[in-house]
Symmetry: C2
Subunit: 430 residues, 2 copies
């Protein structure tokens, strides 16, 4: 349940999509690493908040207690700490596992690919963070998925907001995970969850509401830097200062048109400590709809400066920032688009079919195809002793093989091969 086989047409589309993402990661100088699908259970515990219950555990068959990785970020942090690596730019494309309720039509599975790019190391502020946003912008533009917006916020700003609204520090995390629901439910419902389930005072909730419904650009940052309450809060001030710097760098990258500083963005995971971001696709422009509607998140990430330290015996921290591309949702979109277009994706790369027009020529086919393979040419033949020529040409048409190399008695006698263009039916002897 919640997993799937990829038949050749899907596998080919996925390969194409993954290589577009990987080539962007390589363009930014990232190296590949690989970690096991299996992690020690204790490595994963206490990293995912409420979602810890979604971790797949292996049966105790003797030896270590194991679980399947839930994402690629925690294994990366474990890798850095274990190998005492303090400086690294890496990408990792691999499957992760979550015992969630699958919603396969919306591209939500229990086994799915993640494509992560992360920068670890102590650097000058916001330079790596800006690069992560540039990467999201490049990938979503390259894939031509339509209009999108990248929402940006900072955990320090959110925590500052909570503080100045009178939320006690012990309730920052629950308040944060409630704010995170603002993209799925209206403010009224979020407010009542805050007051009801999370035990915030109605006044605090109302004050939070005034902040988290704000979104904008540099102008909003400037306004909040002047906000009488927020500007007094150390965390918020730091976050806003860095946000301003981030916007400066994003302006130099020329991508602020797609960036929205959005105070409602909270992100579910516990480990974020600074900038957070999430990219959402906007529905195709439509005359009947006034404002574009979000059709869901396709990338997300942020800064997590404390995670590596959790795996280091001495708690040594390695600041990190990273992005994860939501490849499954993008794959669903591309698949639907391909289906709608009626275009057929080739599932093989075969360049030439080795064919014979008469019987008793299997030996000739085997000799010729062997020569082609040895020359690095992608070649196939039918696995029949005496296939009909029509069947052989039909196979080319069905599978998109552009050329047929035909060797008959005449060609054998003359030491030539007849090369036929399957589409135009033109033939040359070579």
């Amino acid at each position: 349940q919640g997993t799937r086989d990829h038949p050749p047409a899907q596998a080919a589309l996925r390969d194409r999509l993954l290589s577009a993402v990987v080539s962007c990661f390589k363009r930014h100088g990232a190296a590949a690493i690989d970690t096991p699908v299996l992690e020690l259970r204790e490595t994963l515990m206490g990293k995912y908040g409420e979602d810890t219950k979604l971790i797949y555990e292996l049966q105790d068959q003797g030896g270590e207690l194991l679980a399947l990785r839930y994402d690629l970020t925690v294994p990366f942090a474990r890798y850095l700490a274990m190998n005492k690596v303090t400086n690294m730019k890496r990408y990792h494309v691999a499957k992760v596992y979550r015992r969630d309720n699958p919603a396969t039509t919306r591209g939500r599975y229990r086994e799915f690919y993640q494509c992560d790019f992360d920068i670890a190391g102590q650097f000058d502020p916001m330079i790596p963070d800006a690069e992560c946003l540039k990467i999201v912008h490049e990938i979503l533009s390259d894939l031509q998925l339509g209009d999108f917006v990248i929402k940006v916020n900072d955990r320090r700003i959110l925590n500052g907001v909570f503080a100045v609204c009178g939320v006690p520090e012990s309730k920052f995390i629950p308040a944060c995970s409630t704010v995170d629901k603002l993209d799925k439910m209206p403010w009224e419902e979020v407010r009542s969850e805050m007051v009801g389930e999370k035990g915030l005072s109605p006044e605090a909730a109302d004050r939070i509401g005034e902040y988290v419904q704000l979104h904008g650009g540099l102008d909003l940052i400037e306004r909040l830097l002047q906000d009488p309450k927020l500007s007094q809060n150390k965390l918020a001030k730091e976050g806003l200062g860095d946000m301003k710097l981030l916007f400066e760098y994003l302006t130099l990258f020329g991508i602020t048109g797609k960036i929205s500083f959005d105070l409602s963005l909270a992100r579910g995971l516990d480990y974020y400590t600074g900038v957070i971001f999430e990219a959402v696709l906007l529905q195709q422009e439509n005359e009947h709809v006034e404002e574009p509607v979000s059709v869901g998140s396709v990338a997300g990430g942020g800064r997590y400066d404390g995670l590596v330290g959790m795996f280091d015996p001495k708690g040594r921290k390695v600041p990190c920032v990273g992005v994860s591309i939501g490849i499954e949702r993008i794959f669903s979109i591309l698949e639907q688009r391909l289906e709608a277009s009626g275009e057929k994706l080739r599932t093989t790369e075969t360049q030439v079919l080795v064919a014979t027009p008469q019987k008793h020529l299997l030996a000739a086919r085997l000799k010729l195809i062997s020569e082609l393979w040895d020359a690095g040419i992608k070649a196939e033949m039918l696995y029949k002793k005496d296939p009909k020529l029509l069947k052989q040409l039909q196979y080319c048409e069905d599978t998109g093989i552009p050329l047929a190399a035909i060797v008959g008695e005449q060609e054998l006698a003359n030491g030539v091969v007849k090369l036929r263009d399957v589409a135009t039916r033109e033939e040359v002897r070579i």
Copy 2:
């Protein structure tokens, strides 16, 4: 235990190796498929004989009982049956899991990659089988692993041998798995296991010994086809007839020089029904050693005509033949070779580092690198506001970046960039 992280240098080497294997599979017209790492437990049970105990099971957390795949062959058969596919040439490169005793120095892990190529469908005999052997020959030649031999046998010939030696049919499988140990222990020990543990008569064991110590080529096949006892056995006769045909095709492929018809080859798995084969590397020729010594199996496979039927409700069979490349052992060899050579593999593909020679030029770097990325050029910069030029050039040398694009105050004023070849120190203005 028995798993490992791949740091960038290893990941880069592995990528190179896997793409060599995949490009061979594509050259032979195979399409990619992907199946989940998780399979239903019942799918895997009863397929691996004694090795079933090595399957990793997931904890029962509610829902289906799951296990991690043990190989890629059983999932492929399950895929064919589930989707009623009767004709397919596919490859699959993915990780599999075995709770075995790890021997990491010899490249034996609990999580490891398999690279499989299989041909499913009802075809004329031995044509797909010959192609599998051609593939093994191409890959081992391409990778320049040194001398190798591909041992070939047929389960029908082995069963025929057991029958004419007086082994009851119920003991064919245990006899087979004992013969399989002949590559690791001398005949005397194999014989005593047959008589002791497996309960064969000493006379039967001696008669088997005469056959399974034979190996050769077409001449041996011809001799066994004339063997008074074996030629009377229907299975053996079929197997030997097909073996002769196989050698005919391999002669046309020009690869019989590396093929040995070897009656001691048995292969461990239950599901083989016809041709079986295994490639072993031979130790480098050495004046002190008379005959080359085997250093272990690097590829194996065979025909399994009954496996798909086990997953079909009506038991409909789909004949299959396939090969699995032992990528981990090959990886160990290449890694050791690389280490010995002292050659350093680049882990990134960055073409140019964007650098500045003076302070206060971060904006210029950000603008230039953004242009380069947008033009598809692989570019990096240091994440410092004011890095020293020497540090920037040092980074190029450390990571193998061939070019530095330097933009200083002078260049900014003139609207040019100074492009420096890191190795030769030559500079041009562009």
